[in-house]
């Protein structure tokens, strides 16, 4: 009957380990030296999270963990406020201004950046980092064939065919106050036959397959490249800037001062085409965001110290 005593000792030991607050061995979420990065459920956000996590775990002795698949910017903001996460990998000036900060849209890029930086510091005690260098704006996308057929070069050119075509757009965009569909229709002076609310991941294949004549997609998506879609320039400068930045809780920066210069290494370093090709590698070439992020960091010489 020694076996049962052994089993009971093991079980009680395991209870002790877990109750004593060392966290769950192997999961590493609750340890104090773990930096938690929150990611949206988009490919791009996961790549950026991985870049940040690998940079931190390679250059410092901190552990990192990923809080993945969060549905919206607001959820991420909540996670940061509650302390479920320390770093939000992707934040968009245009989006966070309207949703999280409940502020009217600002069309000027520099001013928008200044305002979010100031308000995030004042209201939430969080640092809004300078942008990574790319911007994930809404883009009107059509196939090359459609563009040729109707001679479309800018969004304004759509006016003559607008009443006959259906477009697909992100479901949050359609009812947004300042930069949504109603404001769009007013600024450009035309309305489409019908605007279908869609899951953003589906719009690219919908337009490529001809189910929609035009769609509103994100500029950094790799599928623009893989489907060879044409971007119609926003000639009336309607869409506000959506520069992508990371947001970091100031607590973590105060506790670990060496993080700040490390994270600033990413300022302005990633171009739109670099981001597109990273997204493409994940979405189209079946690479994991982890792998793509690692390749990016190695190739661009981000791993400097050996701890």
């Amino acid at each position: 009957m020694k076996l049962f005593k052994k089993i009971f000792t093991i079980i009680s030991l395991l209870t002790l380990i877990t109750v004593s607050g060392c966290g769950w061995p192997g999961l590493g979420d609750s340890s104090k030296d773990t930096i938690k990065v929150a990611s949206l459920s988009t490919t791009e956000s996961m790549i950026m999270s991985e870049i940040i996590m690998q940079l931190i775990s390679h250059e410092t002795h901190y552990k990192t963990s990923l809080v993945n698949n969060l549905g919206s910017g607001q959820l991420i903001h909540e996670a940061l406020m509650r302390g479920d996460a320390d770093i939000a990998a992707e934040n968009f000036t245009g989006n966070e201004l309207i949703t999280t900060l409940n502020h009217p849209a600002i069309k000027d890029r520099k001013k928008a950046n200044r305002v979010v930086t100031k308000l995030y510091k004042k209201r939430f005690d969080e640092t809004w980092f300078p942008t990574y260098g790319f911007s994930n704006t809404y883009n009107m996308l059509v196939t090359q064939k459609t563009a040729k057929k109707y001679h479309l070069n800018t969004i304004s050119d759509m006016k003559k065919i607008a009443s006959k075509i259906n477009i697909g757009a992100d479901n949050i965009w359609i009812n947004r106050p300042d930069d949504g569909y109603p404001a769009f229709a007013q600024a450009y002076g035309f309305e489409f036959k019908r605007v279908y609310p869609m899951q953003i991941g589906l719009v690219y294949s919908a337009v490529a397959a001809g189910k929609m004549q035009a769609v509103l997609g994100y500029s950094t998506d790799g599928r623009i490249k893989s489907y060879n879609l044409k971007i119609l320039p926003d000639d009336k400068k309607f869409f506000p800037p959506y520069d992508v930045s990371m947001v970091v809780n100031n607590n973590i920066l105060r506790e670990h001062p060496e993080l700040k210069p490390l994270l600033h290494r990413l300022d302005g370093k990633i171009s739109l085409s670099q981001m597109q090709s990273m997204n493409y590698a994940v979405d189209n070439n079946l690479k994991e965001p982890t792998e793509v992020a690692h390749q990016f960091l190695v190739k661009n010489n981000y791993f400097r110290g050996d701890k």
Partner: protein
């Protein structure tokens, strides 16, 4: 990549991201395991206790029954309100789901011990603790194990949903597959290892259960 047959894509994915899948596999297993472990730590002693207190037993088991009826996504959201995002939320959800099978099997196992055996043990002068350790538990062990087995297999399935609250695990792959343009290989790369894990765990605990069967113990 997208123009190749699904099977080739899947093989390509496994060869290029093997390490990542292994990592998520481990994480997925640990989350399920911790949840079930917690439930075993709470459920087994509780089951032993209520086996001797009939009225309390019915009450506690009906509570566990009610918990079991809550859909897993709803349960996850409710727990999330309290614990926030991350693996802890999933572990607690798994814990709540595992309580019933473990508790009920412990209860049944303890009650099904032949009263004659207990009487003769008492006749030999065993104390209450000796009776529990040397007679009741060994005889009930295989039934308790089958409860843990059920709990573990269900837990592995539920952990996949945990990806929605940012816990990671193989569910991450499945969700990413549903968002990607051509996500079939991603979905399979997440779902196949999950199913495999459930089958392997079932077999391993099944053989443990056999090992604990009273007849086998006797031979040893």
């Amino acid at each position: 990549m997208a123009d190749q047959p699904l099977w080739n894509q899947l093989i390509f994915y496994f060869t290029h991201n093997g390490l990542y899948i292994l990592e998520q596999f481990g994480r997925h297993f640990l989350i399920s395991f911790y949840g079930v472990l917690l439930a075993a730590i709470v459920g087994i002693p509780l089951g032993i206790y209520i086996a001797n207190h009939y009225r309390l037993g019915d009450f506690i088991i009906s509570i566990a029954n009610v918990i079991q009826t809550i859909p897993s996504l709803a349960m996850l959201s409710i727990v999330m309100l309290v614990l926030g995002l991350g693996a802890n939320t999933v572990i607690v959800t798994i814990f709540l789901y595992s309580i019933l099978p473990i508790l009920k099997n412990t209860y049944t196992g303890m009650k099904n011990v032949d009263p004659n055996v207990i009487d003769s043990a008492k006749g030999m002068g065993m104390t209450g603790l000796q009776l529990l350790y040397m007679v009741k538990l060994p005889l009930a062990m295989s039934v308790i194990m089958s409860g843990i087995r059920t709990a573990m297999v269900v837990a592995i399935g539920n952990t996949a949903i945990g990806a929605f609250v940012g816990a990671g695990g193989l569910g991450d792959l499945i969700i990413r597959g549903t968002n990607a343009t051509d996500g079939a290989p991603l979905i399979l790369a997440g779902a196949l290892p999950t199913a495999l894990m459930a089958v392997i765990t079932d077999l391993v605990i099944g053989s443990l259960q056999k090992y604990f069967e009273p007849n086998n113990l006797h031979k040893k």
